[in-house]
């Protein structure tokens, strides 16, 4: 069995699976049960000046019979007294010395306030702090959370304050509610961040009750935008993680968060450059027990691929992500249908007809009408392959016409545009 242990900027963890700062890490008894279930680390529910929450605070979106493909919340940071949390953190770390225990922080934008809380956390024996610059609702209206994460100068400044006060590793948790993720990430690194974690939740309105015409979640007749997370946000998170993993001006380890439910999701984050991953929604849906298959599935995958340590795959796919201008314009694929598998639903035909390039006409084969790809016309867009309900029925086949690769950049001699925004 491959070695799953991780060293994340000096924080040791038996595996790369951490709980994200959220309800599942609300208090000591919960984190301890999570460690017992197999979680390698946990980021404590964000500490700060205790707040009052509203009721209700969660809403979700379903996809057919599948519940909660996306979750939205308007919960704030911890509502428990600071001293109680600090005491439980100390106790938990004492009981679980081999697990990673990180404490998420958010206080008002005052140097002393950040110094004070960072020192208090260091005193508990916790392994690191995570700065919550991402909460997109409520806290941001008070000048905290995303309000800091959206202004790179603030991000840099507050990170510096925390670094002044503690020798613990400092992880900055970024908000995805920005036009480009690179400037705030670079700012955090400039401020001394040892690592980055992302993504926090995305601004969202989950829907409207058509009877009452009140949007979800209803707080006495009113609603506010909330933070979106869960399986549906994974592609957004993967993009942001891979953007930072390949940014030479970032260059610090990343903890990937957003929509991770299975070992496959987690492995994708690792391949795209995350060293650890954090999970919230999937645990809120199914419980701590899901970590068993995260560990088992990753471990079997590594064994199958002949790896002896999870570290060998971290960032293995990062170099496969590039700018559009570096893609090969001469690379050609076409769709091909295996008629032995085809169930004649004709979705490929209508998708191509009305949504692509009209190149999946019908042909009679053995007295039956089958869709057949007109390879001369097919532009290799993937659409038919994506809509086909039968596994392995449509494959995208490479047509090699011997041409040398040619990119748009080579064709136009353009240089990459610099990332701007800070």
């Amino acid at each position: 069995m491959a070695d799953l242990s991780i060293d994340f900027v000096g924080i040791k963890s038996p595996n790369p699976f951490w709980l994200a700062s959220a309800p599942p890490t609300n208090m000591g008894s919960m984190v301890e049960r999570a460690f017992d279930a197999g979680w390698g680390g946990a980021v404590w529910k964000t500490l700060g000046e205790p707040i009052r929450n509203v009721c209700s605070r969660l809403a979700s979106i379903d996809q057919g019979p599948q519940r909660m493909i996306g979750l939205n919340n308007i919960e704030l940071i911890t509502d428990r007294p600071l001293d109680v949390n600090l005491r439980e953190i100390r106790e938990c770390k004492r009981k679980y010395p081999k697990h990673a225990l990180i404490v998420s922080l958010m206080v008002e934008s005052k140097r002393e306030a950040w110094h004070e809380i960072a020192k208090q956390v260091e005193d508990t024996g916790a392994d690191g702090v995570e700065l919550n610059f991402g909460c997109p609702h409520g806290m941001s209206e008070r000048g905290m959370g995303a309000a800091m994460g959206q202004v790179p100068d603030y991000t840099c400044m507050v990170t510096e304050w925390v670094k002044e006060a503690t020798s613990l590793p400092v992880i900055v948790k970024l908000t995805p509610n920005v036009t480009s993720i690179n400037p705030p990430a670079r700012a955090a690194v400039r401020g001394g961040a040892d690592a980055l974690s992302l993504i926090n939740t995305i601004n969202s309105v989950m829907g409207v009750d058509l009877d009452t015409m009140i949007p979800h979640p209803n707080v006495n007749g009113l609603a506010a935008h909330g933070g979106y997370c869960g399986p549906a946000v994974k592609p957004i998170a993967l993009n942001m993680v891979s953007e930072l993993a390949r940014d030479p001006e970032v260059g610090v380890p990343i903890s990937g968060i957003g929509g991770i439910s299975t070992w496959r999701d987690a492995t994708e984050f690792l391949l795209l450059g995350a060293t650890t991953v954090q999970v919230c929604t999937a645990v809120m849906h199914y419980g701590y027990r899901i970590v068993e298959d995260l560990i088992d599935g990753l471990s079997n995958y590594l064994d199958d691929k002949g790896h002896t340590s999870v570290c060998e795959i971290i960032g293995a796919s990062t170099r496969r992500v590039t700018d559009w201008g570096n893609l090969d314009l001469n690379y050609k694929t076409v769709a091909r249908i295996d008629h032995a598998k085809c169930i004649q639903c004709n979705l490929c035909h209508i998708a191509c007809e009305d949504g692509a390039h009209q190149c999946v006409p019908f042909t009679q084969i053995d007295g039956k009408r089958y869709p057949v790809v007109d390879e001369a016309e097919c532009v290799g867009c993937n659409l038919c392959y994506l809509v086909c309900p039968v596994p392995g029925c449509i494959s995208m086949v490479r047509l090699d016409d011997g041409q040398q690769p040619l990119t748009w950049r080579q064709l136009t001699n353009r240089q990459p545009a610099p990332v701007s925004g800070d």
């Binding site: 298959d293 088992d296 599935g297 079997n300 596994p391």
Partner: protein, 465 residues
Amino acid sequence: MSSDTTPLLSQQEIEHNFREIAPPLSQAEAILEANRCVYCYDAPCTRACPTHIDVPSFIKKIASGNLTGSARVIFEANPIGATCARVCPVEVLCEGACVEKTLMAKPIEIGRLQRYATDAVLSKQRDVLQAGAPNGKSVGIVGSGPAGLSCATYLARLGYAVTIYERKSLAGGLDTYGMAEYKMSQAVSQDEVAQVARLGVVFKTNTEVGRGVSFAELQQTHDAIFIAVGLGATSRLNIPGEDLAGVYDALAFIERIKSRDWASVPMGRNVAIIGAGNTAIDAVTQARRLGAERVLMIYRRTAQEMPAYHYEYELAKKDAVEFLWLTAPVEILADETGTRVGALRCVRMELEPNNVGGAARRGVRPVPGSEFVVPVDIVIKATGQQKLRAWFEQLPGVELDEGGRVITDRETMRTANPKIFAGGDCVNGGREAVDAAQMGKLAAQGIHESLTGERVEFVGARSSV
């Protein structure tokens, strides 16, 4: 008059008739079905499974694409998980308890998903269980059916040197020789036996304890002994004509089918099966598949009292079996050769008015003057298996109850002799393969505790929470 192995159907027709009643799930089906499972916590399906397989865990591993892990979860709780996937009466076990059955009368197809996962590793011979470091102790097991295989697996995982003594030429017990051929073939049971053998368990086949090797010898060789001999041959009818050619014990009949050597299988146009348990159903449905034109199921009580499961009864009805309720055989009549079955004389029965002496069910008695004769070529006896009372006499200190079942401690499966443990059909009087597997697991725990003083608890030894 034809000999009774003259085929009534072509080879292809027979093969077609014996195709799997529950074929494997395709990848698309398995993924869809696995995603339909809501991943219950403290799941009712797991509680209903006698081996308490963590069903939601193995199903979610199918959904996540971790088939190796999925099979491991299954085999850790049930070493004959591939057999059980095909032969378990799921309607009254896991699937009967599934919340999706409550929600919309469509339980998750747990058995077929279990098959999907276990097939994936058995076909690759990918081992998901490992033998423990040798602990220097040795255990002998008599019988290689579900109970024996299960106990051997757990003991091997703990580091025991395990030897299984089996009187038949192939290991697997009724998994190999008894399961209806349309449910599973011998290949599945042999794959599972091979998996157990790869853990280092030694199989001594063609070795009958009490004949080829004495029980005393076993006691000298091993630190403890697990008895998993199952039950004996089918009970006799004790009516005239019982020894005519063409009268079969259901077990012997099914055993011949299991060889798939169709030329050696008895076939008849008119077949009578005596009894109405699950074995009787297996006999009628298979006789039908061999090409019998008329199949009669003869039972002295009514449909309400038949011991077979409801869905098994439905299967027999679908196969157009004729049921003669409240009917008992009184004599098997020879045909013109004088040596072969030609007809069956029966008598009508009626229910006695009251439960005599508080008996669980009402008695039946013959109706005077109601005898009738039906022409048949084959009679199959399926009136329940006998207990191996005589065999147990050679086991010092082992006690049987009045029903002939071995008396054991319920948790450790220890008999009255502290070195001898027992499990499976010989203890419970004849239930399902999965029950025998669970008893094998409990016995392994009991043996380990008695030999080392250490308590271990294997996955699914008890129901959760």
